[in-house]
């Protein structure tokens, strides 16, 4: 909104990252979401993750669809280019953007309406193509921006504010992403920064399609009895199986974490994440088992959070297509145009 002017107070002692930037340098415009909206916590998580990863903000592209959730890219990373596209179609726009310049970091933000209803097809296809990106769904089970209708992730049996009951089967986007071949799939909760930030960091560093389904209660339309996406319900039923912490290659902070049931997974850029498994049988590399696990817990009314699946051998779309290393948008005439002589030969071959 043109009315909101961002206060930019000066704090000389703010901590700086390797680029000499403070956390504030990763912020965006002041949010216009409802006070207390889960989405704002996720924006804070993204800011924190990018700050900690020492990413130059202008080398990040942030894309979204339409919805309260999709508005959030305005509220983080003010120095990044952003694209608030049309409802449900962020995945295709992000795919094209990624093809044009493989050197930027891509963060896609979407809502459950945006991704599980109108955008389900694009959601599925970007996962199976293995586009190198972090795809975040800020999942509140409702259409926030259009005032609280059910979305397709609303649980069967939940009741809307108006008391309408939902009979349709609920879509589990994380399970779907696993099935569709995404190579990094996690779920978290907007209020659980300790779990969220490391997952975000790991997802951003992951080379391939990384998906995080973040439960993000809508304070205005869904924090009521009967809703299974409300803060209260989630706090009660949250079955955290895996705690994840991302450790950048340069400064391994293993000491901060207990030894014991710890699993290290090396990522493509040489960095790796350490998984603390709460469930002894859980193996993030096994898609079939992960699916079963999610499904079984879901049937028990439990929401599995944590890193659900990681394919350590993932490739990304550029690798599959074997595009050149130089970003396509930087290629020049000489590299692109076959020229007069070749054209003469082509003409000849057409006679």
């Amino acid at each position: 909104m043109t009315y909101v002017i961002k206060p930019r107070a000066y704090h000389p002692n703010l901590p700086k990252n390797e680029l000499g930037l403070t956390r504030r340098d990763y912020e965006g415009a002041v949010s216009t979401l409802c006070a207390g909206c889960g989405h704002d916590s996720i924006s804070a998580g993204i800011i924190q993750a990018c700050f900690e990863l020492n990413l130059p903000a202008h080398r990040i592209a942030k894309l979204s669809g339409i919805g309260c959730s999709s508005k959030t890219p305005t509220y983080f990373l003010g120095k990044s280019h952003g694209f608030n596209s049309v409802h449900g179609r962020m995945p295709s726009v992000l795919t094209g953007a990624n093809m044009a310049n493989r050197d930027l970091v891509y963060i896609g933000v979407s809502g459950d309406g945006d991704s599980a209803s109108i955008g389900l097809g694009q959601f599925a296809h970007i996962m199976r193509r293995g586009v190198n990106m972090t795809y975040i769904v800020e999942n509140n089970g409702v259409y926030g921006l259009t005032k609280g209708q059910f979305s397709a992730t609303a649980d069967t049996g939940s009741k809307s504010k108006k008391g309408v009951e939902n009979f349709d089967a609920s879509i589990d986007l994380a399970a779907m992403a696993i099935q569709l071949g995404a190579s990094f799939v996690a779920r978290s909760f907007s209020g659980d920064k300790e779990q969220l930030v490391p997952l975000l960091k790991a997802a951003i560093k992951h080379q391939g399609a990384a998906f995080i389904d973040i439960l993000s209660p809508c304070v205005t339309f869904n924090n009521h009895k009967g809703s299974t996406k409300s803060y209260d319900y989630i706090r009660e039923h949250n079955a955290t199986v895996v705690k994840a912490d991302f450790i950048p290659h340069k400064e391994e902070i293993t000491t901060r974490y207990d030894a014991g049931s710890v699993q290290e997974v090396t990522l493509h850029d040489g960095s790796y994440i350490r998984l603390k498994k709460l469930d002894d049988n859980f193996d993030t590399s096994n898609r079939a088992a992960a699916l079963q696990y999610i499904q079984e817990h879901q049937e028990k009314g439990e929401i599995v959070t944590g890193l659900l699946h990681l394919n350590p051998e993932s490739t990304d779309l550029h690798q599959n297509l074997s595009t050149c290393d130089k970003p396509l948008n930087e290629l020049h005439e000489e590299e692109l145009c076959p020229g007069e002589e070749v054209l003469a030969l082509i003409n000849k071959s057409m006679r």
Partner: protein
């Protein structure tokens, strides 16, 4: 019976079954005539299925270079028993029929006003070959051989064509030439060769080339610097995307690494295809998608976004017969309005309208410059007739000194130099603003792109005045564009006249022929071929200079006429529509007849009550 007689001026039609391997034999036939220097225009008429249904290949041979469909058949090669009755009935009196005489021609199909050439193709093949595949395939070559004798086509030329066709599979050459000889020998032995219709070497082809419009457009994209293509298969546009892939595999490989200097994705649908193009365009890559009518409908929402958020993007609409799925393997020019005004709200799009493969190449390459310069979608509109048929066309041209026009880009240097950057700030007064590529500068130059309203500095706003100001600027940008797009092609008749015709795209060839026919009948017309929308000021001038104008197009609702009236504020009565929309290419004969219904040859008054 008077047999038809003509040198280098006839129509021969092959009636086949699709999937039977006739296509390459028929192409061979057409190409041989082309090689003899005689203008030829083949057209494929195929069903919307894959195998087992009737399909036709119509070849017009015409010394004068009339390449439009003529209508009527002088010589029918009837290889499909299912459509045979209708095929034979369609031959002009005095015409000729070649058929497979292994089975006797049913009595009810016989006509005594045509000449029959029965060649026992099945019998010959069964005798000669054991493999059922060969029996099927060589039938086609045998009839080409027979035709060579009947029409006096140079066998050496055909042999050359065969040699080229099987380059790399040389062992196939001998059997093919053998089959060809079998056919020729049979004809020479049993019929009076050549017949009244013959092909004679000529110099009417010159350095022209023979290529379909979709391949030409694809090559234009390669030359125009497209680095990203996304598409969803749909007839008749698929071959454009596929050809781009093939050309890129040849001409876009990084020599050191063998890696690709392009990316191409088959999208999950048309919405995704255009979304990807917009994403790539936003990120500074030249990108396109190719589709047909249903795809344009599905892309409308995104086209509105690209218009309003000002994202360069190139879309090919290879039109087919609508509405809905319509006749998906037939041609039409009926997406004009859908393309020009695609999307809800006040939207408009730049259109480029090539008329043959040469212009497909030219305008495709240019489309990327225009899209970048005007930061908006450019829709290149062709149709099935141009796109999927082989045409004789001028050789493609390119000047190595030509540079891509990437439009107004604010670079890191500009930003460092302190230039004020507002993404939607009209600094030059032409409605065209500066943009940055994402990732340009650590501190300055980033902006937020959206389909919602915003101020000149790309900040979200719901202020109605700022919104309206921006909408007016977009209008101004279109005015600027009208003067920069490819100009219409004007053709002024030698005799003075205040009557004229306006046409575009694949109507061109038939139109040229019709203009000659009309001139012969004493009706002189000036002519203008449109090549772009919004219309150049020349178009308005041209219309103003004439008292009555015929607008010829291949759709029911006279869509281009609508655009002309609406955008140029023309008196509707002045623009008389001639429309044809049966799905086959329009013919000179049809145009001439319809024009004569509306304008009397004494060149004075347009006839009233001309129906739309």
């Amino acid at each position: 019976m008077k047999q038809l007689e003509a040198v280098n001026d006839f129509v021969i039609k092959f009636a086949n079954i699709n999937g039977s391997g006739s296509a390459s034999a028929n192409l061979m036939f057409a190409k041989s005539i082309f090689r003899m220097g005689v203008p030829v225009s083949p057209r494929n008429i195929f069903p919307s299925n894959i195998q087992g249904l009737p399909t036709w290949y119509e070849v017009r041979v015409n010394e004068k270079g009339y390449l439009g469909a003529r209508g009527g058949v002088d010589f029918m090669v009837a290889m499909n028993s299912e459509s045979m009755a209708a095929d034979i009935a369609s031959i002009e009196p005095g015409g000729y029929l070649l058929y497979d005489s292994t089975r006797e021609l049913p009595r009810h199909m016989r006509r005594d006003d045509i000449t029959l050439f029965g060649v026992p193709l099945t019998e010959m093949c069964n005798r000669e070959y054991n493999d059922p595949r060969q029996r099927q395939l060589f039938k086609n070559i045998i009839y080409v051989g027979a035709l060579a004798a009947l029409l006096d086509i140079d066998t050496a030329v055909i042999n050359d064509v065969i040699n080229e066709q099987f380059k790399g599979k040389e062992k196939l050459v001998i059997p093919n030439i053998h089959a060809l000889d079998m056919g020729r020998d049979y004809a020479l032995e049993h019929f009076n060769c050549p017949i009244g219709l013959t092909v004679k070497r000529s110099d009417q082809v010159g350095d022209k080339i023979f290529i379909d419009g979709n391949s030409a457009a694809a090559l234009g994209c390669v030359y125009g610097g497209a680095t990203f293509a996304s598409w969803y298969p749909i007839t008749p546009s698929s071959s454009l995307a596929e050809a781009f892939g093939s050309y890129c595999e040849k001409y876009r490989i990084e020599p050191e690494t063998d890696k690709k200097r392009y990316a191409m994705l088959q999208a999950e649908d048309e919405l995704a295809a255009i979304g990807m193009v917009i994403g790539a365009g936003w990120n500074g890559s030249r990108a396109f998608t190719a589709t047909s009518g249903p795809g344009i409908s599905l892309m409308s929402e995104f086209l509105g976004l690209a218009y309003f958020a000002e994202i360069p993007s190139v879309i090919f609409d290879v039109q087919r017969t609508g509405p809905s799925t319509g006749m998906p393997t037939r041609t039409q020019q009926s997406d004009i309005l859908a393309c020009a005004y695609a999307s809800h709200g006040d939207t408009k799009h730049l259109l480029l309208i090539p008329n043959d493969p040469f212009e497909c190449f030219e305008l495709s390459a240019q489309a990327f410059d225009l899209a970048d310069h005007f930061q908006t979608p450019v829709i290149v509109i062709t149709d099935l007739d141009i796109g999927m048929n082989d045409h004789i066309t001028k050789p493609f041209e390119w000047d190595d000194s030509r540079r891509y026009n990437r439009g107004k880009i604010m670079t890191q240097e500009d930003l460092d130099a302190g230039r004020d950057f507002g993404r939607y700030l009209d600094v030059d007064g032409d409605g065209v603003c500066y943009r940055t590529y994402p990732g340009t500068h650590p501190e300055r130059g980033s902006f937020f792109t959206r389909g919602t309203s915003r101020d000149p500095y790309a900040r979200y706003t719901e202020d109605g005045k700022i919104y309206a100001e921006n909408m007016r600027r977009l209008d101004l940008k279109f005015e600027t564009a009208a003067r920069a797009l490819p100009a219409p092609v004007t053709q002024i008749a030698p005799e003075e006249t205040d009557l004229a015709v306006i046409y575009y795209g694949s109507t061109s060839h038939a139109m040229q022929e019709s203009l000659d026919q009309l001139a012969d009948q004493g009706l002189t017309l000036n002519a203008m071929r449109l090549r772009a929308f919004p219309f150049s000021p020349d178009v308005k001038n041209f219309i103003d200079q004439h008292s009555a104008i015929i607008v010829v197009e291949q759709n029911r609702d006279a869509q281009m006429r609508t655009l002309l009236i609406n955008e140029l504020e023309i008196l509707p009565e002045k623009l008389m529509p001639v429309t044809y929309f049966e799905g086959s290419p329009i013919t000179a004969k049809y145009i001439t007849a319809e024009v004569l219904k509306r304008l009397s040859p004494n060149k004075v008054t347009p006839l009233r009550g001309a129906q739309k």
